[in-house]
Symmetry: C2
Subunit: 217 residues, 2 copies
């Protein structure tokens, strides 16, 4: 049974691949699992039918038979757990890969996501510059730690894992609005390595096609 | 082999149970797993020995034999996966419990954590009131969704799970500095229900004893 995911009918990022359905699309492509997409408008996301799937009225969701999940991290984990290729088989290596999943979403993403919001919503506020400097300082601390740990390895812990998948998507959000990543050549190369994966490219093309079709419609 | 976790030598919250080792202590108590604690100073946390365990120089970490993990969410998941009592056996129910783990840490915690920082670090900034209102609005959106989903159930999805454990610790951080939770009687009762668990009480007493000992020392 093909899973069904939800995505924005009109992505606020205009097809740049920053919406959180991109993570799920990428994971599904990595494990060669075909899927269907149901597009939802901002209006629909606040309706009872969608809130029954996602209590916080966001995307993506994931439905397969009787199972309904939300939260991109949890969906990627579910895909990784039920298919080969995104989590190592060795139990210790698997636990470390899961650690990177949580690190991407709970330690690295929050200041990067805040920065993207501040960039849009607080640009005309008198404190804009100071807020940005403060967030950049938080982000740099994370990048310092991440860069030191990655070193000259290709991925964070051995083979490419769901931890790398989530971390690359988090760093791509930073790359879209800042050149801070250029100060960390190994992290910049890490992100490019992620983007070069065939599964990433297929997922990116598919989410871009939604935006292109919506614009033409 | 007893696992070893790290915790603050002197917790900034003065033993209120808000530091992230509390989540790990609570999970270990729920599954009746004895553990050792190594206390670290803020100075030690920035040293190579600790950074080898935790690339971002934070607590908690978790060591058991050759395995070293960081990120409270990942550690709680590891404990839940290897012991009975924190994740349902039914695969679909288990996937939904994992969803609540990610929801707690990636959707509900970020604005609550930001609010606790703003309360301390930005109190004298000209934007303080406006920042607080904006964060409170973000937090209320999360609480609205969470409260509607919880309804009059005891826990978020059937029996108490690692998802509830993380969600309660996130809401406890809000409760420590705001009375916003009082507007959601079912969420307030949910948090009290979590604090009433014997495992929570043992974990709380243990982290408080660290602070009390340090103050007496």
């Amino acid at each position: 049974m093909k899973p069904i995911i939800t995505a924005f009918e009109r992505s606020p990022d205009r097809g740049k691949g920053l919406a959180r359905d991109m993570r799920v699309r990428w994971a599904l492509e990595e494990v060669s699992q075909p899927y269907d997409v149901r597009l939802v408008s901002f209006e629909e996301m606040k309706q009872p039918a969608h809130l029954a799937l996602h209590p916080f009225g966001q995307i993506p969701t994931y439905e397969q038979g009787d199972l309904a999940l939300f939260e991109s991290g949890a969906i990627v984990f579910h895909i990784a757990e039920h298919n080969a290729g995104l989590l190592p088989r060795d139990p210790d290596a698997r636990a470390r890969a899961v650690t990177w999943m949580f690190a991407a979403l709970n330690t690295v993403e929050p200041p990067i996501f805040d920065r993207s919001l501040v960039n849009i919503l607080e640009r005309d506020e008198p404190w804009y510059e100071q807020r940005l400097r403060s967030l950049d300082s938080s982000i740099r601390k994370r990048l310092d730690g991440l860069s030191a740990r990655l070193g000259d390895a290709d991925w964070l812990d051995g083979a490419f894992s769901a931890g790398d998948l989530l971390m690359v998507t988090v760093l791509l959000r930073l790359k879209a609005s800042s050149d801070m990543l250029d100060d960390y050549s190994n992290l910049a190369a890490y992100v490019v390595r992620g983007e070069a994966r065939p599964a990433y490219k297929r997922a990116f093309a598919d989410q871009l096609a939604v935006f292109t079709a919506a614009s033409a419609g």
